[in-house]
């Protein structure tokens, strides 16, 4: 425990170094903006801005990106409340009560509650993160290739069991991400693979950023343009510092359910497929269940704004736990952070704690600071953020497209990758319209090379015997949970059918 406090102290000091602190402030502001813009969330901001981080050392870069992640979780609430459309999918539940409050002219109350609740959620989850991360990383040091592979199978199984999307389409998305990762030189034999039409650009492989920026930059903007037709209307918000301080005192109304929702959000956030959106919905449900006045939910209850906001912030911190300790991202955003770490020359996973403690603890320290700074910046500049929401789409869209094109070019400096990115963006958009989930593909392209290496190393060690994954206890447990997760939807279906049959034919359809 004393160890942890000492390391945390040095991490905090590191986060306060001028460069890192500046990165936190810039990241938080950009995150708030990205989060507040309808349709764009943390994942879009992180994907589009990752190429810019080559400017600073890795620790400052991850601090910057984590601050964007953090800010975006706060920012999502701003458009949920003032526009009535979620700024990001993670803020969907915030609309339920945020919108009615805004319509009643109490937008200030909702915005303050969202900010304070986000702070509570953030604080609880960071403390949990600090306590859980070091022991988990130490435990994970024992993992060999077989355990690593089993863990990745488990990560992908969560998408099938908990993702809630069409199962064949989800599996397809995972597999195509893994196949895209195999393009280029084989990591073991060095042979060129899947070099289509002998285009030399494929020899370098497909950088995960090409897929991530394509899908989350170009694809997402096309999707948003279609959804909003480029039009938004803003609710009037009148805010003064006096009001805000008065509203902060309401915290006692929602602190109980908010804390509970934060802890829940943190643990849901650690699961790769679940993450912030379901966590916020679950937290909303929890707050409603435990409320003395559940009927007021959906009509403008402050707790209904606070609960989901606390949970989505907690979940974003939670999703960093498996990324830092196991090298398995807990969300699409952390998948991109993980890919970034590989570009910066770091090997994500348990060794990070021993080999690059300054990186890990700098990141953890920065989370504490970012949490506080986001609260302050958010409360001070709410009116400004609301104003920026009225920025016309015809300015926002071309700016984002340009950042995507330049960001897609920068890592490899080849137009080949930019064309691929455009292709992925359009394909991602078309597939998304048919309910193909795209997040699993991004996770898969990041994990693909690691998964293939651990699979082949395990098989080589066991002379091709696949039982190796079932003979080692940790990998056996992972595989068993993975199987159970895959079977969840099957059982749900059978139970639904049985229930329909039991209810009698007249209710069956």
């Amino acid at each position: 425990m004393g160890d942890i406090l000492g390391l945390l102290g040095s991490g905090l000091l590191q986060a306060l170094e001028p460069l890192n602190f500046a990165m936190i402030i810039i990241g938080v502001v950009l995150g708030l903006l990205v989060g507040a813009m309808p349709g764009l969330g943390s994942v879009n901001g992180v994907a589009i801005l990752l190429p810019i981080t080559f400017l600073v050392p890795p620790t400052a870069a991850i601090i910057f990106l984590a601050a964007i992640y953090y800010g975006a979780m706060y920012g999502g609430a701003i458009s949920s409340i003032t526009l009535g459309i979620p700024g990001a999918s993670t803020a969907v539940a915030t609309v339920f009560d945020g919108r009615p409050l805004a319509q009643k002219g109490k937008a200030d109350k909702a915005l303050t509650a969202a900010a304070v609740a986000s702070f509570i959620g953030g604080t609880i989850s960071i403390v949990l993160f600090t306590l859980f991360a070091p022991p988990l990383a130490e435990f994970a040091l024992k993992f060999g290739p077989a355990e690593e592979f089993a863990l990745m199978v488990l990560a992908f199984a969560t998408f099938i069991g908990l993702g809630g999307d069409d199962i064949p389409k989800t599996i397809f998305s995972i597999l195509i991400g893994l196949v895209l990762a195999t393009i280029g030189l084989d990591i073991i034999s060095g042979q060129p693979r899947l070099v289509f039409f002998d285009v030399t650009g494929f020899l370098r492989g497909i950088n995960f950023l090409v897929l991530a920026i394509g899908i989350y930059g170009i694809g997402e903007m096309l999707w948003t343009l279609e959804q909003t037709k480029g039009e938004v209307t803003v609710h009037n918000v009148k805010l003064s510092m006096k009001e805000i301080f008065k509203d902060i005192k309401d915290v006692k109304e929602y602190i109980g359910t908010t804390s509970l929702g934060s802890a829940l959000g943190y643990f849901v956030g650690t699961l790769p497929a679940a993450g912030a959106t379901p966590a916020s919905l679950m937290s909303y449900g929890l707050a409603k269940t435990f409320s003395k006045d559940p009927d007021s939910f959906g009509k403008g209850n402050v707790s209904g704004v606070a609960a989901p906001e606390a949970a989505n912030n907690a979940a974003s911190t939670g999703s960093m736990l498996p990324m830092i300790t196991l090298g398995i991202p807990g969300s699409p955003t952390t998948a991109i952070l993980l890919g970034g770490m590989i570009i910066w020359g770091l090997r994500p996973g348990p060794l990070l704690f021993t080999e690059h403690p300054e990186f890990v603890w700098g990141l953890i320290g920065s989370l504490y600071i970012a949490n506080l700074m986001t609260l302050i910046i958010n409360l001070l500049f709410i009116p400004l953020f609301v104003k920026i929401l009225t920025l016309p789409f015809t300015i926002l869209a071309p700016t984002i497209y340009i950042l995507c094109v330049v960001g897609g070019y920068a890592p490899t400096q080849s137009m080949h990758d930019v064309w691929l990115m455009f292709l992925f963006g359009v394909m991602g958009y078309l597939l998304r319209k048919l309910n193909y989930p795209v997040a699993p593909a991004v996770l898969a392209i990041v994990l693909g090379p690691l998964a293939e290496r651990s699979l082949r190393q395990s098989l080589l060690a066991s002379q091709g015997d696949p039982m190796v994954f079932l003979e080692r206890p940790i990998s056996l447990i992972c595989i068993l949970i993975a199987v159970a997760l895959v079977l969840v939807p099957v059982f749900q279906k059978i139970r639904r059918r049985q229930k329909a049959a039991a209810d009698g034919p007249e209710q069956a359809d």
Partner: protein, 168 residues
């Protein structure tokens, strides 16, 4: 085209892609190499085979009408959507194609001019400010701060004086 038709066309297209990937992977060794483990084509081959199975499952579900998309007869893309998405995609396509020819910066100027003035109908002041400001911002960030040269194609000589200033 209805959503229902789009679902079918997409599943067939993806199934064909999966077969293509399987064939391409099979050009390499997809079996066991003694002392070296699975051949380099094995992993992508079996992944593509899995993709094919998923597409076949989607096709089966289409025929049985299980997926909501296979029962949805509304338009896959309304004419509004085609216009708004088509213009954006077309503009990016032009931006990329023109980059090969006149370089990124000149293309950016044309792209922004088109987007801001002809789609956004913003005032000339806003249009010109952004059309000049954004490329300058991109230049400062990437060429100057990050030292990543962006493609300039035939407009390269125009930048020589700036390089002289930057590197002198």
């Amino acid at each position: 085209m209805s959503v229902r038709t789009a679902e079918l066309v997409m599943a067939i297209f993806l199934a064909l892609c999966s077969v293509g990937l399987m064939v391409k992977s099979a050009e390499l060794n997809i079996g066991w190499v003694p002392e070296r483990g699975p051949g380099s084509g094995a992993w992508p081959f079996w992944l593509s085979a899995g993709m094919l199975l998923c597409c076949l499952a989607t096709l089966y579900r289409w025929f049985r009408g299980i997926t909501p998309e296979s029962r949805n007869t509304s338009l896959y893309m309304t004419s509004d959507t085609v216009v708004i998405v088509g213009i954006s995609a077309g503009a990016i396509l032009f931006l990329l194609a023109a980059t090969h020819w006149i370089g990124l910066y000149a293309s950016l100027v044309l792209f922004l001019l088109f987007y801001l003035k002809f789609i956004g109908r913003h005032s000339w002041l806003v249009t010109i400010a952004l059309t000049i400001g954004i490329p300058i911002f991109i230049f400062c960030l990437f060429e100057w701060a990050l030292k990543i040269p962006l493609p300039k194609a035939i407009t390269e000589p125009l930048f020589y004086p700036i390089y002289d200033l930057m590197y002198s």
